[in-house]
């Protein structure tokens, strides 16, 4: 039962414990990091994103769109991670590591590698637009807010990215295969 001061507080702020933010949005942010950066740097980008989000969380307005906020942070962290990787002169279009020994079966892994390579081959802005719209579920106006530019430009970047993926990745056509 809530005491009176608790009830008053209840009306003042509507913020959930950060644990619930991690549980609810952690998986989608991971897929975004993976799509934008590839498997090798996704862990670091995810960690940096949520650490940074935790720091800023008390100041986030109670009615803010948490998903869009997290994608904005992930976007900046992905740029940082890429810059750091470039400074270390690590080859960019490397073959991704096996993500997990107990992970997907050989065929799934093959598809995953193909898709990672296809995503890595996209221009950065297209890859980001595809990830933020299709994986994070942001509307194009939200994607534009993260990337800069107009919603139309974001829509075009995502459409171009999907068209390129269709050519490079879906050309191997896995349709109809059992999963």
């Amino acid at each position: 039962m809530l005491t009176d001061p608790q009830r008053r507080l209840h009306h003042v702020t509507g913020k959930q414990p950060f644990e619930m933010i991690v549980a609810r949005h952690g998986p989608a942010v991971f897929r975004v990091c993976r799509a934008v950066l590839g498997p090798r740097d996704a862990d670091d980008a995810w960690s940096e994103t949520f650490l940074s989000a935790l720091k800023a969380y008390p100041d986030l307005p109670g009615d803010a769109n948490v998903e869009a906020w997290l994608v904005t942070i992930a976007h900046r962290k992905a740029i940082d991670v890429t810059r750091a990787a470039a400074r270390r002169a690590v080859p960019v279009a490397d073959v991704p590591e096996n993500p997990s020994a107990r992970g997907p079966g050989p065929r799934d892994l093959e598809r995953d590698l193909d898709l990672s390579a296809a995503l890595a081959a996209l221009p950065r802005k297209q890859r980001e637009a595809v990830a933020y719209h299709y994986l994070a579920g942001l509307p194009y106006a939200g994607v534009a807010a993260v990337l800069g530019g107009s919603a139309d430009a974001a829509r075009r970047a995502a459409a171009d990215g999907i068209a390129a993926l269709r050519k490079t990745y879906a050309a191997t056509d896995f349709k109809g295969e059992d999963q």
């Binding site: 809530l2 005491t3 608790q6 507080l9 209840h10 003042v12 702020t13 913020k15 959930q16 414990p17 950060f18 644990e19 619930m20 991690v22 952690g26 998986p27 991971f30 897929r31 993976r34 799509a35 862990d43 995810w46 960690s47 949520f50 650490l51 935790l54 720091k55 969380y57 008390p58 993500p99 997990s100 107990r102 992970g103 997907p104 799934d108 598809r111 995953d112 193909d114 898709l115 990672s116 995503l119 595809v130 299709y134 994986l135 999907i162 993926l165 269709r166 990745y169 879906a170 896995f174």
Partner: protein, 203 residues
């Protein structure tokens, strides 16, 4: 199938994060947050003979123990508003508390030796709670006796309220406060829990 769905389907091969990966990422986040002073409230649950207890600690010490009947998710949400929303499941900070509470329920511990954070108690309630630690293991005191002991002999009901809102049950022994006629009175964890604790201490 719409173009949107078909396009999204292209990305299906991108593997979803597994529970195991997410746990590893979460644990890394919790330890980094702790190291950088960003983990304002750490929590875990502990199975006990009186049901699962939620244990929460700030950097200063154990700040909240909650019974299952209080609804742990709800308690965490309230903690987020009262203390800070920077709350993560981070069992490590609660290791000492979990160990001592385990020992208590195993009958091997009669006093808790843990840093406590009384941020959630104020004024007269805090005075009452501070006094409760003085009621020895296996003993009881009446609400009236506690009221008299803290210098407000007429504040019997306020003592009852202080016990009912004890943020640290079990560790701060409000279960040792009973009615003057010897009946149990109330308990925030339910009377069965109060009876179990008193029986444990009487053994």
């Amino acid at each position: 199938m719409s173009d949107e769905q078909e396009a999204a389907g292209l990305l299906d091969a991108l593997p979803a994060v597994t529970g195991e990966q997410l746990r590893a990422l979460h644990d890394r986040l919790a330890s980094q947050a702790d190291a950088e002073g960003l983990l304002d409230v750490a929590y875990r649950t502990l199975d006990t003979p009186v049901g699962p207890l939620l244990l929460a600690a700030t950097a200063r010490g154990l700040v909240r123990v909650a019974y299952d009947t209080e609804n742990h998710d709800h308690v965490l949400t309230i903690l987020g508003r009262q203390l800070s929303p920077r709350i993560l499941s981070a069992p490590h900070r609660l290791d000492p508390a979990a160990r001592e509470i385990d020992e208590y329920f195993a009958g091997r511990r009669r006093e808790f030796d843990l840093p406590l954070d009384f941020s959630l108690a104020h004024g007269f309630r805090l005075t009452v709670l501070s006094h409760l630690a003085g009621i020895a293991y296996g003993r009881t005191a009446s609400y009236g006796a506690v009221a008299a002991a803290v210098g407000h002999p007429k504040a019997v009901r306020a003592v009852g309220t202080a016990c009912a809102t004890n943020p640290l049950p079990v560790v701060v022994p409000c279960h040792r406060v009973v009615r003057s006629d010897g009946s149990l009175g109330g308990y925030l964890g339910g009377l069965a829990a109060k009876r179990a604790l008193l029986a444990l201490e009487a053994a």
